[in-house]
Amino acid sequence: MKVIIPSALKQYAENQASVEVSGATVAEVLAGLTARYPDLRKHIFSDDGRVRAFVNIYVNQDDIRHLDKREGTPLQSSDVISIIPSIAGGSSRAFEGPR
């Protein structure tokens, strides 16, 4: 299935914006992806092997954290997996300025 690589991580995947990776579950696809592009691993997974808290993994329009089987969610070849680091922030606790 197709895995969409965000622009922030493209440099760790030979500048590919999307790649085809086979696997029966989300976990298998992510494992296959990071085996092919080892430099991606630390950007997606924490040291304990879990998907980093700020990395969202979507299967089509569904956040896997909201699916019953999460990383174990079974996939079909037509599914599109998106890796989406979160975007957030705000002026609270502001203390630094332009460098």
Partner: protein, 132 residues
């Protein structure tokens, strides 16, 4: 972008910048205004729903572009990055534009380039903004 930030006042506005990145320059071709998902504290926090990011990413891909950055406003606060901005910035290599909106009017706009080889080493570097 600045108009969106004024309309959202006194809340923070946010959006996605689409375009092309060549070497150390990010050229913005289109601006996608997004909803601030932080409805619990919209006056000093912002968040963009992943679904909106996926849609913006598809928009970019369809146009031959990519996501090159993001913007948000600081209502009645300077256009400088906060500890929260850095802690919650994860798109390495992208630009983070901050618009200060003072009493409802957009004032200073600054851009910061999120650099570093990893989440643990990331830092913001000020960058020059040129308008054409």
């Amino acid at each position: 972008m600045r108009g969106h930030c004024e309309r959202a006042y006194p809340h923070e506005a946010c959006g996605v910048l689409l375009g092309a990145a060549v070497a150390e320059v990010r050229e913005v071709k289109a601006v996608v205004a997004c909803e601030n998902a932080r409805t619990d504290a919209p006056h000093n926090r912002y968040g963009i729903a992943p679904q909106e990011l996926i849609a913006a990413q598809k928009h970019a891909r369809d146009a031959g572009w990519e996501i090159v950055g993001f913007y948000h406003s600081h209502p009645d606060f300077p256009a400088r990055w906060s500890a929260t901005d850095l802690a919650e910035a994860h798109w390495l290599g992208c630009s983070y534009v901050i618009v200060s909106v003072m009493q409802g009017r957009a004032s200073a706009t600054n851009a910061f380039w999120l650099r570093g080889a990893s989440e643990e080493e990331k830092f913001f570097a000020g960058e020059v903004v040129e308008a054409f």
